[in-house]
Amino acid sequence: MPTPFNAALEDLRTTRVWKSIFRRGPANSNRTRSIAVFGNLFLHWLPVKVREKSLRVRAAYYLGSLSFLLFIMLVVTGVLLMFYYHPAVPNAYRDMKDLQFVVSNGVFLRNMHRLGAHLMVLLVFWHMFHVFYRGGYKPPHEFNWVIGVLLLLVTLFLSYTGYLLPWDQLAFWAVTVGTNIISAMPVIGRKVRFVALGGNIVGENALLRFYVLHVVILPLLAFLFIGVHFWRVQKDGGLTVRPTRDEDGTNKD
């Protein structure tokens, strides 16, 4: 016997407003359940059907998913941090101090972001090693592997550009050392350093440049590559588990 609440929900579902947003109707048949995934902007990157075996933790330890989850968390905390941060030279350090001392839950926000970043780098490396171990780079997955490596680079750059933003001694000298290493490249080294720093010294231009990279360019690239990465995983047959075949080639499950 449907409860009054369920009855009310049913009525809601018959309204025109509802129908204009959620078009598929209740997910009670295979068709509507499929539409629920591939007809959804956010979910259609994921496959409609997955093999049950691939949902086990031991399959890939959810490394890729966790990396993505951490990325989302970093984006959320990052945007919240952006409310309190000025990418200018005396303000940057002061704003970081203000986050520590004045902003409610500022310590939490900053630590989440920083620790999340460290954890994400760790997970991304682990994910890469695991994919390699399981042979997930072999055809037809070789393009996805390249995308993955690009994602690794984006992650590392995000980490490096973000490291400068507190503008403390640690940040300043890390960037000094890093950009000096860049300048050791033959022929183009000094020019590349100039582009990276927006000048010859690690100063306000460098801070602004790194901020834009960290907040706009690299996250956009990350989203782009993540999209392609997921798409390729789906199109190449789903997560990790190879279908088990009989001697005559038919799928077992």
Partner: protein
Amino acid sequence: MPAEDMGKLSDKLRLTFAVSTVVCVLVLAISPVKDFRAEWKHYKRAYVKFAQGRSDTKRLLGDYTMEIDQIWLPTMNVTDRCMTCHQGIAQPSLADSSVPQPFRAHPSIPHNIREWGCTICHRGQGPATEVAEAHKTTLAWEQPLLPARFLQASCGSCHQADIKEAPQLARGRELLSYLNCQGCHRLNTVDRSRLGPDLSSVGYKVSREWIYKWLKEPRTVLDKDGNTTVNGYENGDESRMPKFRLKEEEIRALSGFLSVQKAKPIEVYKINPAVVSAWSKNPELLSQGELRFRQMMCTTCHPLAVTRAGETKLIGGNIGPELTKIGSKVNKAWLIAWLRDPKSYLPNTSMPQYRWSDEDLYKVSEYVTSKLSDSDLFSNVPQLGAPTEEEIQTGKRLFTDKGCSSCHVLNGAPTQKDFGPDLTALGRKNASELEFSKSKIERNLVSYIQAKLQDPVSVNPAARMPQYSWNQEDLDAVTTALLSQTGPPPTSALQHLVIPKKETAFQVVGAFAQVFERYKCYACHRFNGYGGTLAPDLSYEGSRAQKKWIAEFLKNPQTIRPALILRMPQFNMSDKDAQVAAEYLSLVLQKPDVDPESVDVRQFTPAMAAKGKQLYEVKYECQSCHTIGATGGYVGPNLNNAGNWLTPAWIEAWLRNPQALLPDTLEPRRNFTEEEIRALTAYLLTLRTGIKTQSVKSAGNLHSLAQGAGR
């Protein structure tokens, strides 16, 4: 999986989700809970409780909110959140010491807290809202609170001239100048003092043995075993030359090198043989010599160790070197040449050029070289002959390597700059920028400075800085002065707040210039801000003293202030010199609104004088501080001869408002009526004595006064 089972969750999964959700929420809740229990909020709540227990609760909580309070002055780089916990800092009713910290009010100071914030004076991390972060050195902040003892260092960041509210800072700067730290280190706001003596001709002055002994232990009040008989430092007279850590060969080399420095030969003066023959056999020679030595008041500028009542003390001023064993130090020909004309040996000396009669010269030089000596002084110095060429070369190299040429001028040795590190920004250094080596002191700036001053080698085994010795008070003063060296101000607003020191110069020309330079008046007296502080400021002497009196005084200085030990020396000035000086002082050094001619002496009647006497003795009891004749107090000057000494205009102006004439005088300003002032002036003008030449008896009086003093 069959279609109907799709989307169903197993119980295990449900449980997993439930547990992880709860765990997530709990973990997420940590931050808001911690935020609620923030340290500053705790102090704010405590303040409310505290204020409710006081009688003026409403006023104390007038502008209270549960928010962070800050003083924000962006142009001055100030973001101070100290008031968040120190809620009562600006509440006058909480000024008592029974109020618990952090609620106690700030003691009243010349600067308004809201205009300046806290960290400009107290340092520390202004933006912090946690106790440890705000006050102490933490992982990310290395500028802790300045200990209260050295707080005056912050005054020095802006006040480059000395202020009366910061005497410890003034003393520290004075010491830095006196000990010539600027010779090796760059410093701001510290006067560059006279350097060590010019050593170009030192070979004529002292023996190699003496140089050896001096380099080993730069104090002259030593006995043959090298023990000090008087602790010069305790009496405020430490030798300005510090102790260098020199090895035996180095001392030999340096002493050899210096003993051959004979750039300019001294003019040997031959004392009139008749005088010599008259006095040399006289048994009174040395005692007469001692008498003249005392009468010429050499100890006004030079310290001397004397033994009285079984106790050895240092008496005298500290402008010149100590004379206790000077006879063993210098050779006699040099001494005579020096006494006659100091400038010929040291062009920029502070020693005045006395006028000597041959008799006096003979007596004093004999006394000095016989009595002010110690025959055992060099008994522990090894036999040093003439130096070898190798020793001289080594000595020459050592002279620059050890930093001697940072203080001593020497022909042929290049003047050194920056022998030691630049200290202009020492006050702002973080502990991580300092070299502690293996020392066991606390890792902070203040401990570092104190350790370095007391023993440079402890914090840097390769230090070239010599060894100084300090008493605690002077150590703290110098630490304060060094902590005030904070380098250029970080913002332009702070730059505008810096109050630079006014450089004073006093240019004299003409006949007086010669007298001025010959007798070095500025070594002790101040003229319009320029000069020494040992003796009274003469900037207004023309308004104060009568010209005739000045001339007489210069020829025969008398006791004016009985409580003071140091006296003006008697230079044997010629009448002409005294006249020139008196005229200059009277005419030029006047206070604009005290014209010595403005008050006519003839208007004062004996009746007024009698009234004045009654006021002096009965109504105001001035004799509590001033002496007339044999009775009275020691605090103010002797008024025996006030009629001849002071001008009437000065007396009147002085009685009206002493602080207008001499800002730091001890004389209290009273509420005299004009009539009373005139009566007192009349009385004082009747006090006249003839000026007597200094007799043996008067010298004895000074002796006894000095004995009671014990400086």
